[in-house]
């Protein structure tokens, strides 16, 4: 076990306070086998939240970090998909919408392999899980081996990636597509506006939002967007969540989603080597995904990766943080890396009031400083970009981002996101992944490689 003493210890009083505050959030939001993203706004288990949470939890309790991922994987469908929400049966249906009786996973999803219990959603979120599992393993390899952690999770994670590349390569170009704006995790990003306009919204009386009970309407997606989200889920559900049978009116290839698949394939390769299995399939997949990412989603004139709308087979002309996250991929062409760093530090993403990266270009026509993924700066994307900068040896930029992240996390009381023009905290406070990634930036070895 790598001793905590061997790691760089936060010595400054501010770091200690921050570390205590972050640990408190994670202990408070732990529910016994997993962590809720927020006690008020998000009362169940979310897929990519759990992965980010595990990355921080490994510094507090390796065992809890393992449980966090394994409880999520226990709700995996037989077709390999990891649902984006695993519902806590103890929470009333009306605490969150869409609720289990809307998704109906155990009945509508039965043919696709949904478990009889627990109830889950039927869509997915970005595949950051294998990266998280590898980082959790690395935090204490002896404990991981003793508990057989990798042996248990590796086949499940491989099945998850098989699902994405086998069922979701809807464009035929070797990348995984997403079929709902919630899948790339950036729910109301302007990147989806064009594709969403083709979707007939569900009638407003067909659903009742629960997110406005605790969240401020100005911070949340609009009602019209919500109607479209509901329509897409209804159609997918009515097709039995079968990707081959469903007629996906919304299908896009997202840079962040596929970049995470690349590093997660590399994490699976590392796990395979660690457990004496063959790593070559995963390495080859990561290399192929990297090539396809650059071929299909790199926009050289814009200096950023862009979303490909599969209905038009064209790139969407919006500059979003999703287009910067691919910095995380280690084998990008050098000129792509340089251009990405230029874009990151240029007028589109260099925010006046925060070092964090705005979710959408400050100069973009749809920029909204307060509304969720249409401008606010988020902590998980900053963490990913920080890691990407380190991966490509941009230490100074990485360190600046790390310091900015920590300052913002403490100042905002671990907010869900911040207004990039004023620095004001928005959304939920005591947000789990903000606290978890704070802990990671305080405690992880800065030289820890991304696989």
């Amino acid at each position: 076990m790598k001793s905590l003493l061997d790691r760089p210890a936060p010595t400054a009083a501010a770091d200690l306070t921050l570390r205590r505050g972050a640990a408190r959030v994670l202990i408070d939001n732990w529910t016994g086998a997993s962590t809720v993203p927020s006690r008020t706004l998000y009362p169940h288990q979310w897929s990519w939240d759990s992965a980010f949470i595990a990355i921080g939890l490994r510094h507090l309790s390796v065992r809890r970090a393992q449980q966090e991922l394994e409880s999520l994987l226990s709700a995996q469908w037989a077709d390999g998909r990891i649902p984006h929400i695993v519902f806590n049966p103890a929470v009333p249906d009306d605490a969150y919408f869409p609720s289990p009786d809307f998704w109906r996973s155990s009945t509508a999803g039965r043919a696709a392999g949904a478990p009889a219990s627990p109830e889950t959603s039927g869509i997915v979120q970005p595949p950051v899980h294998a990266l998280a599992a590898w980082l959790v393993h690395r935090a204490d390899p002896a404990e991981s081996r003793r508990r057989g952690f990798l042996t248990r999770v590796r086949p499940r994670l491989a099945a998850w990636h098989d699902y994405l590349l086998g069922h979701r390569d809807l464009g035929g170009g070797g990348l995984a597509a997403v079929v709902h704006p919630w899948e790339p995790g950036m729910d109301n990003s302007p990147c989806w506006d064009q594709a969403l306009r083709r979707v007939e919204p569900a009638a407003p009386d067909a659903f009742r939002r629960a997110d406005l009970n605790h969240g401020h309407p100005a911070d949340r997606p609009t009602d019209l967007d919500y109607g479209r989200y509901v329509r897409l889920v209804t159609d997918y559900r009515d097709a039995g969540y079968d990707d081959r049978a469903a007629r996906h009116t919304f299908a896009v290839e997202d840079p962040c989603f596929n970049a995470l698949l690349i590093v997660s394939e590399r994490a699976l390769a590392a796990m395979a080597r660690e457990t004496g299995a063959d790593a070559s399939t995963h390495s080859a997949r990561a290399d192929a995904l990297t090539r396809h990412l650059v071929t299909r989603l790199w926009d050289d004139s814009a200096g950023v990766f862009r979303v490909r709308d599969l209905a038009t087979d064209a790139l969407v002309g919006e500059d979003s943080v999703t287009g910067l996250v691919p910095l995380l991929a280690p084998h990008l062409p050098p000129h792509v890396v340089s251009r990405l760093v230029d874009t990151l530090t240029g007028p589109r993403f260099d925010a006046p009031a925060t070092r964090l990266v705005p979710s959408y270009a400050l100069t973009g026509h749809a920029f909204d400083a307060q509304r969720y993924w249409r401008g606010p700066a988020w902590f998980n994307t900053a963490w990913l970009i920080h890691r990407g900068l380190r991966t490509h040896g941009r230490e100074q930029d990485a360190e600046r981002l790390r310091r900015g992240f920590l300052a913002e996390a403490g100042r905002s009381d671990f907010a869900e996101y911040v207004d990039p023009t004023t620095g004001a905290a928005r959304g939920a406070r005591h947000f789990s992944w903000t606290a978890a990634l704070t802990l990671d930036l305080l405690c992880a070895d800065p030289k820890e490689p991304t696989p």
């Binding site: 905590l4 003493l5 640990a23 202990i27 408070d28 390796v62 065992r63």
Partner: protein, 266 residues
């Protein structure tokens, strides 16, 4: 980093000075004393003062008797309170922080026949409030703290969880009474030990450590990093005092604990 202490009976050597030498070499920061009845602890005052002069660090004493402040028998109860008062006085005299006691130990368990104790819950509470108030006032006068230790359900029927101890302490309202938590008992009684530490952070004063099987930390299956992480989170600045049975070579077992706790996040 959290400091560690070992109870004196776990350390080899005929004198506290010899035990301290071993303890320091193993990485301990202090020795936790054991306080026997019949005013035996007070009779050791010269020995303790000498040890203190020789540099032995002794912040706490843990009671080592068979009757306690919550005894059913009024005479035993009276004696237990008198013994604890004496122990508080002695630990104050040697510059320590406080003395630890459970409400009772081995007297009654609601999980074992005959299941129903001879006293009602209200009577139990009255007895505890009365004894703790007397001890708390005495501790305050001496400038030290009384640590009330919740024990698991098989060892005590009155105070099993932190919330029960916290409730008594808040009812009395004296800063000189705090909870002395014990990882082994918490593992049995608390649904989430780390969360319990956060919930009652303001009244936690002392901590004893042993693993899930009552052996030394590292010999069982407690999630030490979560438990210690919670103590860090509340800014706990007392000791982690080793009170356990030993498995394996006893000296090696005692020697292994400071390093194990540090590796686990202490």
């Amino acid at each position: 980093m959290l400091k560690t202490a070992a109870q004196e009976q776990l350390l080899p050597g005929d004198t506290l000075q010899a035990k301290w030498e071993f303890a320091q070499e193993a990485g301990y920061d202090a020795i936790e004393l054991r306080g026997k009845g019949d005013f035996h602890f007070a009779s050791r005052l010269d020995e303790l003062k000498k040890a203190r002069k020789d540099g032995v660090v002794m912040p706490t004493v843990c009671v080592d008797m068979l009757h306690f402040l919550g005894a059913f028998d009024a005479d035993l109860r009276r004696d237990a309170v008198d013994q604890m008062k004496s122990q508080l006085t002695v630990i104050a005299e040697i510059g320590g922080r406080g003395a630890q006691t459970p409400a009772s130990y081995g007297m009654f368990s609601r999980r074992l026949p005959p299941f129903e104790p001879p006293r009602t819950e209200e009577e139990d509470r009255e007895v505890l409030l009365s004894g703790l108030t007397e001890l708390g006032e005495h501790a305050r006068k001496e400038g030290v703290t009384l640590f009330l230790e919740p024990l698991n359900r098989y060892e005590d029927h009155m105070v099993n969880r932190l919330e029960q101890a916290a409730d008594l302490i808040r009812a009395i309202g004296l800063d000189s009474i705090r909870i002395g938590i014990d990882s082994y008992h918490m593992n049995i009684e608390e649904s989430d030990p780390a969360a319990a530490i956060l919930a009652h952070a303001d009244v936690i004063g002392h901590a004893q450590v042993s693993d899930s099987n009552r052996f030394q930390p590292g010999a069982g299956h407690l999630d030490w990093s979560a438990w210690l992480g919670a103590l860090h989170t509340i800014g706990y600045d007392g000791h982690l005092a080793l009170e356990c049975r030993l498995t394996g070579d006893p000296l090696e077992a005692v020697r292994s604990v400071p390093a194990f706790l540090k590796r686990s996040g202490a």
